[in-house]
Subunit: 459 residues, 2 copies
């Protein structure tokens, strides 16, 4: 990390000096040595006029790649400042899926303005890409693939591939369609270049195609690319017609998004909050209000849960009894431990559910784990309690409550995700604050129940 950041720092100061001294040729030569991503990184740290000067110096293909990486704001600022022919030439080289993603975030009139600069064919493709939902496979696919007819020879196919390689996101898989544009096979570049010139594509291709439908959840594409170790996956409609492909770099982007999404969900906050925190220069005010908006719903739910706990506690008789007043002191440890083991059980269950179907038997398994850890913890707490207060009745009440609470905490933590899954609700919606609050309520109820029973036997 340090190594790379140092390199960017050096590049940034070098670029600034060259722009200030108007050394255009040297600047272009310098930039050509660097990866597009590094150039994009330093552009984000330049003042607007320097940013535009640098962008104008870039060769067309690099300029297009820079725009592919950019967000809507960067994209429209840059494009509005350069002349219209240059604009048209750069747009022509942009990957259409990235362009569609950016255009979907622009105002409609701005979007129309850009669309008018595109060729008819590109404009049609972009229009189609704009239709699909962001979370669907259609929302992340690109139309930059190489498609050949099943009746071509290997030689024709190679010629076709070479002619179309420029616009393709990957040339490592070539997709084979029949005369109705239906996907019938796939051929790797490896297979194609090692084939004899006269071979017919239909005989070379593999008919065992792993594909996704254009309206499926994008996570299905992630699952298949990951399972079958693919570099790209074709996207088809329900008539088997080839609509696009999803390349592995976009799969990786989705995986990163989904992994952080899960963590945010678990913490009881949301995607919007994340976007603001990860953005480079949001205003602090925007950041804070987006955080408040994202968190308030979860906090409100848990607030109600907390008040229910308070209400249960207010029915507590033992506080009235001065001999057993000290039972109050053990509320945090008894309810806290149920919450902790419940959190462990629920995460374990949510993660296991994403890999295979778990049955309610898992709840029993977790109950046994709660039983064993409960015995260990309640013995330790019993000893600690005896040191605090030499009253065997209190030791018994605290230890037994903790023990039962840990068994139930583990079982409830495991039960909730399985139940959600059975009800066809995403189990990862269960967040840590919700589990904690639910287990506070049951924990207090159990503590009062055990106390009442045991005290009635003793007194």
């Amino acid at each position: 990390m340090d190594r790379k950041q140092d390199a960017s720092q050096d590049l940034l100061s070098e670029v600034k000096i060259l722009i200030e001294n108007n050394k255009i040729l040297e600047l272009r030569e310098l930039l050509e040595e660097y990866h597009i991503i590094d150039i994009f990184d330093i552009m984000e740290h330049l003042e607007e006029d320097m940013k535009i000067k640098l962008f104008e110096v870039l060769p067309l293909d690099m300029a297009a790649s820079i725009l592919e990486e950019s967000d809507a704001e960067f994209f429209s600022t840059i494009l509005s400042k350069i002349d219209i022919d240059h604009r048209r030439n750069i747009l022509e080289l942009m990957s259409l899926d990235d362009m569609a993603d950016i255009l979907s975030q622009l105002h409609e009139d701005e979007r129309e303005e850009i669309m008018e600069l595109l060729s008819q064919e590109d404009a049609d493709d972009v229009k189609e890409l704009l239709i699909y939902e962001e979370e669907s496979t259609g929302g992340i696919m690109t139309t930059g693939y190489i498609e050949i007819n099943k009746d071509m020879t290997a030689k024709q196919a190679i010629k076709h591939m070479r002619e179309n390689a420029q616009d393709a996101e990957t040339i490592y898989y070539i997709y084979v369609v029949d005369n109705d544009e239906r996907l019938v096979g796939v051929l790797s570049l490896r297979e194609l270049i090692t084939a004899r010139d006269a071979s017919i594509v239909e005989d070379l291709m593999s008919e065992n195609i792993i594909s996704v439908y254009v309206d499926e959840d994008r996570e299905e594409a992630v699952r298949l690319v990951s399972k079958y170790n693919l570099i790209a996956i074709p996207v088809i409609d329900r008539q088997q017609k080839l609509k696009g492909i999803i390349t592995v770099d976009d799969i990786i982007d989705v995986m990163e998004e989904e992994a952080s999404e899960d963590m945010y969900k678990f913490a009881g906050t949301s995607e919007q909050e994340r976007e603001f925190v990860e953005k480079v220069n949001p205003t602090p005010k925007d950041q804070i209000f987006s955080s408040v908006r994202a968190r308030i719903p979860w906090l409100a739910i848990t607030l109600i849960g907390g008040l229910i706990s308070s209400l249960i506690l207010s029915n507590l008789d033992f506080v009235m009894n001065p001999t057993y007043r000290s039972l109050v002191f053990f509320i945090p440890v008894v309810i806290g431990m149920g919450g902790n083991i419940g959190t462990q059980s629920s995460v374990l269950t949510v993660m296991a559910l994403s890999n295979k179907d778990l049955e309610f038997s898992n709840v029993i398994r977790e109950g046994i784990v709660g039983f064993i850890t409960g015995i260990i913890c309640s013995i330790l707490v019993g000893i600690a309690t005896y040191i605090f207060i030499q009253d065997i009745n209190i030791v018994l009440i605290v230890s037994i409550s903790l023990f039962i609470n840990m068994i139930l905490g583990a079982m409830i933590g495991a039960f909730m995700p399985v139940l959600f899954k059975k009800l066809d609700v995403d189990p990862s919606i269960i967040s840590a604050p919700v589990i904690a609050t639910a287990l506070d309520i049951t924990g207090i109820a159990i503590y009062i129940f055990i106390t009442t029973i045991l005290l009635s036997k003793i007194v």
Copy 2:
């Protein structure tokens, strides 16, 4: 998901019938139509003797691919049952990084036995791969790459590539070395096949190489492949000598592992527990004991924290005062809400830290979020409290405690990860149970402090 599982079900029953009727040729033809991963899936559901029969029917390259997917147990069971020449031929086709991963899990004598079947060259490569730690880039790299000398012509390079394509994990990047085996450039297959025959590799190659060192954390490889959209990344030693490559499919595997690892860590459990739960047929006893072992350390830490809360609570004077006895009832809501906002803040901070360097200023930002959400929640709680108990003093004590607790909860939740990062400790070690317990302690301390101050003013 259903679609694919159905396909496997059909394949499984078809395979069983063919094996039972000893229809070897039909079986082989059927299997050749399926993807290796699907065949591996159904093998896991076959009895051992059927599994071996099926394996013997497979063409050598498919058999090798099946073993690449397998774990140590599957690998050694299968290999022990087939004759030695067949064994040698399959091993020769296996990818060396997968073989090294499996061999590292076998007993030493079993490993030696397998190594003796390998060619000298392969055995040396495997020995070297076995040295690297699992979490390092060396632990996931493969030696199956294509390497050419910088002085070759494009024609020589293509010839060399074709001859070595069989053993390569990817032929889409070709790595260029100098006479001392130092990595000096990289060439994509795309660039190579579009170059003129007489061109010299050194003039074609890109010198701007993104690489990792063999002893770096494997997450650095994930970061770079993801950032620069690579299909493979070369691994070099500190003398710049090329040691291996990591392909994007292995990067995806690491990403999946790390994403779940983070969730397990956050829940306060571990990798070992996960392995048992995700394994197909562990004994329930093993599962349960591995769960107990993984969770007890976290539960013990939080148990001590819970007892500290109890100890603080035992210094509580207001329980003695019958007028303010009802303050006890609000303990769950006051401390619970501090814990909830603290969990939100800590996850947000941990996730943000993985993307950029956060300063302590983030703690202030979270404090402001706590301030605003605190105002909202304490007004709501104040109203609820007034409905329960018409005592304005209690309403004030509960609302002010909740308010301060939420500000401090947010700030402590954000502070802990930043502090850990500054101390060079992985911030994701901060788990939900630990945060919950830490905030229980501060929450109770604050509640008592506020109560004592306000009661002394009132009384």
